[in-house]
Point group: C2
Chain length 333, copies 2
């Protein structure tokens, strides 16, 4: 399992390291940054594999997992698809909104921002309690240079590494943006990432070329929220989402393509976000769980069938950016 | 007028140069890339001004304007606001769609992609004639690190440089994306940029802290399409759009904030896009002008009151990526 990470002490991009399977040791990567490695993947893949074997054999220095930032601390593109249909179905039912045309037959793909990602343990600054902060457990792939017009069959070969994302959403900001019809913007605060990226090759059977086979667990304030199967109930695989995203333009190396919130149809699996939990609670006449506020903690972690934490844990605390008071006068749409 | 540009021969980011007012000479910039200069602006602004004075005084090497790529050949974020209301009003009227809530009182801000921008004379690859390719003449600002929650008054101080953009749109792909309610994705092919960025300080009276005062001219196949005043009919200034965009998260240095398509209320000024021209033609019972096809050329250029071309000319040819035949079977939503 070849694991890549970025040590956060070197500016906005960090410094690429190769990490041992148990997360205890690291060696310098063959490129200065993760972005540079993704751009020069064909040339560097062999060196990365050699370094991964060496660090596994005991070479390298001890690693403080707390020193890691997001695998790509910033990226030139982030987009995400609607892999798990029950996420949108539950959330739209809760606000009596119809499902979009093409639901279940073509992915809905959103353009996200990527100018800065939160480190795995970096606090999430919430500007206003009224915004309705929610987690969203999401799998992502980092791709190489994808030409315009690739088919799903071709798209699979451009997947370089997988990552685990908390694609946070401000639920109470969404209605205004839906009404405007111009996509999500203010509803998307900074995203957080688990510390380790794993190469597609290094995942073995856990990556089937379309989906990651893992158990993704979510907790809020230490209480389990979900134990989800990332390969279950997926209407689309990553190649279909990449092909959709590259229909009218190429995607440049380092683009992150997210799965959308992981969601299983069986509600006993729990949830990858609070919105779905609230939708089910409201449906059963229960009072809905609150969204996240200052002081709340979120943990997201993905485990392989061997029980190993694939990407390391993402454990973040929400903090009030300005005391949590309403700032809705400043530019609210 | 301090002008910055990127010479395209050095990989994905180009190499920063300082360009003389007449565009004939250049000196190396004090940082390797435009992105690095924007990140270290406070430290480098004095050196940039010194180099600009030196190149104006005759120092430096001859410049081939054809060697320039986009001022930022790729960026970590692109977003755009709805500065010119008549653009949306004409286009929504043409498809009998209502105006969005908040139209005219808060900007609608879109998240765009930024993983690769077209050089000023690079061909625009069109995958399918049926997509309805349209130009969109747009002014942009490149900002430094903008904190979350800045007010419009504070936001003005983060504007580092201005750029001229062709924010191309696939008009016939838009309806599917509007119906999905998830913003524009496939409707946005690669954007093109004029070769020169100009510092906010270097614009003098042409930049009033909110808007660029310029005449933006557009041509299709050599025929004038519009002669637009970029400071006229603007419902919002850049500071308002930046404040809106930074409401729930910071914006990282190098973020490009676009104005949205420049549009004047007086139709005799012409148009910054074909969609508005078509809307007026249809309104008058005329057959609408066609969208762009392989072989068509687009020219966009902005002039100061002194008649000088502020950003240099952007002159691009549309080419058929695959013979222009329909590829709508591959992933169409």
């Amino acid at each position: 399992m070849t694991r890549l990470a970025s040590v956060g002490s070197s500016g906005r991009d960090g410094r690429l390291v190769i990490v041992s399977r148990d997360g205890s040791r690291h060696l310098p990567g063959p490129a200065p940054t993760m972005q540079a490695a993704i751009e020069r993947w064909d040339e560097l893949a062999a060196s990365i594999a050699v370094a991964a074997a060496a660090v596994e054999a005991g070479e390298g220095e001890p690693l403080e997992i707390e020193a890691l930032c997001a695998p790509l601390p910033r990226a030139y593109q982030y987009c995400e698809g609607s892999t798990y249909l029950s996420h949108m179905e539950r959330n739209r039912a809760a606000r009596n909104a119809p499902l979009p045309p093409g639901h279940g037959t073509t992915p809905a793909v959103l353009q996200g921002h990527s100018d800065r990602f939160l480190s795995p343990k970096e606090p999430i600054e919430l500007g206003d309690h009224a915004w309705g902060l929610d987690l969203e457990a999401t799998i992502g792939v980092i791709v190489g240079d994808v030409p315009m017009g690739v088919t799903p069959t071709q798209a699979a070969s451009y997947v370089r590494a997988l990552v685990l994302i908390n694609d946070l959403t401000l639920r109470n900001v969404l209605p205004d943006e839906y009404a405007k019809g111009t996509g999500f913007f203010q509803a998307k605060p900074l995203r957080a990432f688990a510390p380790l990226a794993v190469t597609a090759e290094g995942l073995g059977d856990a990556w089937d070329g379309r989906l990651l086979h893992a158990e993704v667990r979510t907790w809020v304030n230490g209480v389990p929220l979900g134990t989800l199967r990332s390969a279950a109930d997926a209407a689309f695989g990553f190649p279909e989402i990449i092909s959709y995203a590259a229909r009218t333009r190429p995607l440049a190396a380092g683009t992150i393509v997210g799965s959308g919130t992981i969601s299983n149809r069986d509600p006993s699996a729990g949830f990858g976000c609070l919105a779905e939990k609230r939708a089910i609670e409201i449906q059963h006449g229960q009072s809905p769980s609150p969204y996240l506020l200052g002081g709340d903690t979120i943990r997201i972690e993905a485990f392989g069938d061997d029980g190993i934490s694939i990407f390391g844990a993402m454990e973040t605390t929400v903090v009030d950016a300005n005391g949590g008071g309403s700032s809705s006068a400043s530019g609210k749409g």
